[in-house]
Symmetry: D3
Subunit: 255 residues, 6 copies
Amino acid sequence: MSKILFINPVGHTDFDAPIERYLNHHKMEKTTVEVKSLSRGPHHLEYHYYEALIGPEMLQMIKAYEEKGYDAAVIGCFYDPFLHEAREIVEKMVVTAPAEAALHIAATLGNKFSIIVGRKKHIPVMEENVIKYGFKDKLASFKDLEMGVLDFQQEVKETEKRIMAKARAALDEDLAEVILLGCTIQFGFFAELQQKLGVPVIDAVLAPFKYAEFLVELKNKFNWQHSKIYGYEKPPADEMEKWGLAKGEQGLFIR
Amino acid sequence: MSKILFINPVGHTDFDAPIERYLNHHKMEKTTVEVKSLSRGPHHLEYHYYEALIGPEMLQMIKAYEEKGYDAAVIGCFYDPFLHEAREIVEKMVVTAPAEAALHIAATLGNKFSIIVGRKKHIPVMEENVIKYGFKDKLASFKDLEMGVLDFQQEVKETEKRIMAKARAALDEDLAEVILLGCTIQFGFFAELQQKLGVPVIDAVLAPFKYAEFLVELKNKFNWQHSKIYGYEKPPADEMEKWGLAKGEQGLFIR
Amino acid sequence: MSKILFINPVGHTDFDAPIERYLNHHKMEKTTVEVKSLSRGPHHLEYHYYEALIGPEMLQMIKAYEEKGYDAAVIGCFYDPFLHEAREIVEKMVVTAPAEAALHIAATLGNKFSIIVGRKKHIPVMEENVIKYGFKDKLASFKDLEMGVLDFQQEVKETEKRIMAKARAALDEDLAEVILLGCTIQFGFFAELQQKLGVPVIDAVLAPFKYAEFLVELKNKFNWQHSKIYGYEKPPADEMEKWGLAKGEQGLFIR
Amino acid sequence: MSKILFINPVGHTDFDAPIERYLNHHKMEKTTVEVKSLSRGPHHLEYHYYEALIGPEMLQMIKAYEEKGYDAAVIGCFYDPFLHEAREIVEKMVVTAPAEAALHIAATLGNKFSIIVGRKKHIPVMEENVIKYGFKDKLASFKDLEMGVLDFQQEVKETEKRIMAKARAALDEDLAEVILLGCTIQFGFFAELQQKLGVPVIDAVLAPFKYAEFLVELKNKFNWQHSKIYGYEKPPADEMEKWGLAKGEQGLFIR
Amino acid sequence: MSKILFINPVGHTDFDAPIERYLNHHKMEKTTVEVKSLSRGPHHLEYHYYEALIGPEMLQMIKAYEEKGYDAAVIGCFYDPFLHEAREIVEKMVVTAPAEAALHIAATLGNKFSIIVGRKKHIPVMEENVIKYGFKDKLASFKDLEMGVLDFQQEVKETEKRIMAKARAALDEDLAEVILLGCTIQFGFFAELQQKLGVPVIDAVLAPFKYAEFLVELKNKFNWQHSKIYGYEKPPADEMEKWGLAKGEQGLFIR
Amino acid sequence: MSKILFINPVGHTDFDAPIERYLNHHKMEKTTVEVKSLSRGPHHLEYHYYEALIGPEMLQMIKAYEEKGYDAAVIGCFYDPFLHEAREIVEKMVVTAPAEAALHIAATLGNKFSIIVGRKKHIPVMEENVIKYGFKDKLASFKDLEMGVLDFQQEVKETEKRIMAKARAALDEDLAEVILLGCTIQFGFFAELQQKLGVPVIDAVLAPFKYAEFLVELKNKFNWQHSKIYGYEKPPADEMEKWGLAKGEQGLFIR
């Protein structure tokens, strides 16, 4: 039994139901999944300030779900916000996120990959992450669609058309062998694109979800989970208690 | 006239007065400085979860001070938390932080440097920053004191003794030419250490403060300030308004 | 249903049965696994010449198992020999190997890791692979046990003692957060080591086996499999036919 | 009081007066500046052989000005010629140069930058410097104007037009967020370009001059100056005396 | 006296005579050269599976020629297949290959270079080698001719035309200063191309052949030969004997 | 016929005769060699200021010898001073230097190497060169002897003893496979060290001399010489004439 929390780290529930259906359709038998967004906050995370705002509530949510017995959390944004922090505060839960998962998969499936993003805005921080995760030499290119995140599912035909054009250019000109959809809200497009393009197209919702299932399997079978020394060493409970930092008990940060 | 905000991004005021005195002692004539901590939160930022908690209030504070007419903000923690985010939300203010400033200065003063930190815990994220900022080939080593951040000013003699021993090892064995004190709460130690060691010892409070004065000078004279396209492009005001993300108006994130 | 071939790419069967039991014990329910060694060849692969010798038969075996309907192959040597070549000749099968899988897992579980190898001899090529896969900045150190590969399971107590000593040094001195056992023939040691060390210890047999199960899941659900353009483009069947390179038909390379 | 020497390291005085006016216009109150060229030598430094020729006289000049009580020297060429050597022979003076200063500033103001140079000839050595200083991952591109250095101020309109076109391409196609003018003789253009482009445009005369003011402030307040161990360790006076290498006393190198 | 073996590691003799003539024409006086292909195998090595097939026979051939008193072997394919392995099994012979040799020469003759290959297929593994050998920052670009290896000498005019066009683009757009012909079967084209282009064009047959002559000179004069510790440590003779891995005695791998 | 100039770029002739004998002993038959020092200047080049002083005369000497019909010049200092500049001003001559040549050879003979230098002072610039040439991942370590350059040949026994100790440590602890003697004045030691250590020990005089012979062979046979576009493009003759920069005609720089 693997209980997985998939977080839409935004302040609206529009995508919760469709993503939950999507995941339930693609999950392993023994998995149960809950998709959850935040009680309030920005409606997308294109800006890094927006990311900062969702940190406290999202991290508290992850802790709360660990206490409820969940095995894994997926932070559903391709910037992978607060991934390091989340791994620090959990004890046995595993945490992953779209960029990490999709990059690991892409690096296994091909020699170079391109990442399709909404706007040029998204590229600097994503490129920092690609470098940080170690995949700089495997990055063929970023390609931007000149679309905002919230448009992807509004104008499905246009989105598809633009992704197709940019992906083809990435394959032909930049020598990408794999395409990554660099935003969770590009979910649902991969299958048809993949068939037309003839190369793997990695979906940013499914990749971290499946990677979470994989990590839970490793944890349950072998106790392989995030190392808790140095980088992911957990804050001391008494300190958190004293300063009111745990569980939002004083309504301090996540009221 | 340069108005600079130095943030102690923690939930207590213990270091506000001493650091304000320290900065007032070392500022340029035309500078005025205010040191400010947060209304609540962790007492130190050794854990990355603690960092996440201070984001919303600190970023709102930076925006508020920009509106008050401040020229610069210094984020007073050697992890440089939310530096990118802060640069995104400001319009004309400049923002800097200890690691960025100290690394730029150290790279100008010597060929290699070592960074003295409290505990091994601090190293992974700091090393990521050193690499991200471009100074990997100039990093001689990290040295840890096996002390928590809040002990530095409690046991001054012991702190000094340990820094001295680790710094000497860094010079002799790792070929460091410059020493960086990798925590703002190591403030005040540099002068004596420097005299004894015979090499520059960079203080993590003064370095970003002076770098802020420098950036303000560039801004005022040449309009050189953070580029507002792509990575630091600002969120649209109407979007922030609609979703209640600006100025803590709904007491949402920074009550 | 996932059918996985685990190859012991050596010319003896000594480890086939124990590894098959080991994998059967740890597999997912729907997985079936076959462990197979070569018809002849070196008894270990410490030398790179030995690696070269096993290429033709091993690659032919992989092709043959793809035709039998297998979903995945694991090349059971931490040098990851012929991984690129194997991915080139298969059509839909996924192929992985210990270093790739263990490095991806380790990079997800901690910030830095150390790799425990038998002899210094093993390090240069393994280090090339660590760099090639992108994990150079996450490598804390290699540690050698001064033991040959065939000794690991002969002198279990001594092996365990040496790994423990080297792993502790890696954690304390090199800031590793995760330990990798850098040889498949170190199988079976991880659980006790992990308990004593308090950090994840990655087993070089289980890591690629579980990674193969994961990749099969991706393939079966999403058709994500090795991209077949450029680097893994398959040789043309007619060319192989003409030159007698397929299926060992002339007994040429794999007699 | 900060006394700064700005060197035009060429054998003519054409740009001394305009650059001195330029700097006096932009200096801090307490700064005095002298702009000085060499007694003889090439009229520009586009070729690296020309750079080599100016070394002895320029380095002697720097030493002489340190003895006169100057606080800082700026080596006025974007190749940063003899920067390391200059830091070695001074005792307390600080020395900087355009590429170093402009790159540090640009890396603080944006995520990526492009450098506008006169000719393709200039790129290889400048690119080596960008890498050496650590800013490779922040370099969006070099753009060449197909103009020689001495043409910039001759054909002001044409120069401006070409910079504008190349800078726009850098922003739109290469994702630069900041533009660097990669030659001191491009001085004076930045303000208008910046206004039109809407991003910071860094001037190669002002950047190192202001960086020198900043370094002098650090030196005067904190004794932070170039470390004198290892890389910048000074040659022994007696050795220089014996071999006639100091102060041009035998008219040897700088007659 | 230098005895050099040049291996065409393919299963046909079509290029043996022309390459032997070519080398004899360009050799130093004291050199003797033998060009040899394999007894069977693929007719070109564009696919990595094909490379794997030629390993055992080629390595046995190298050992056999060492025993015959040869001083050096050249592995005649720009993928440099089994170069590491070959250096491991020899005792005093030196071994080199086209990419290694051509890259070393190109890095000495210019600041950046481009590599002209037949098809995009060839690039991923070659790029890995460029990085592994250390020349990533000197690589201007790969350019593909959209031709298979066996076409180069069939359609000489077309080959020449395409190389010329791609090389000019590499010089003009990518700032290459040197051109490398990235396939041995492009032999014979360099001289005319070089004359037309005005920059060095490195031939993939002559480069490693001359590098081999150079290495033999170093070996004969100074005993500088491949280090036999760690990476190139030789397999023990008794082990090879016991397992039948030496000299193809059982007809095992090279029948 | 290969005419090679070996420059001792110092202001005394003490090592000219012994090095000329050394080279004559080890040269190829058709080679003639002249060893030449400067008319005046420092007696060693440990300090970078000293390097700067020798530039003009040394570069003029290289030009003069090209006009005399020499084929190659070797710049005899392991800092490789003015190598780029020399390649720029020559037309057909080839130029090399110890670090470049020794690093290329070492990278061919082993996987990792260590460089033995006199003092820690020498390391920062040499390390920059190792990185610039591309060999950072192959550098095992620098080891310093705590000896000045001029002591090496004074105290032969002590020098030998120290090199031996440091080299052994490099092999055992740092996994070096090849040893580089990082100063030309360590000439003559390699043969005995090599025999005792059992790994190649590269001499900093012989390495660039032999590399020069090799480059001359390439030049004479194939017209492969330094590319004269971009980085090594030559200054225009008329400009040099007009400004008095050629041939020391006005006694300007090399009186």
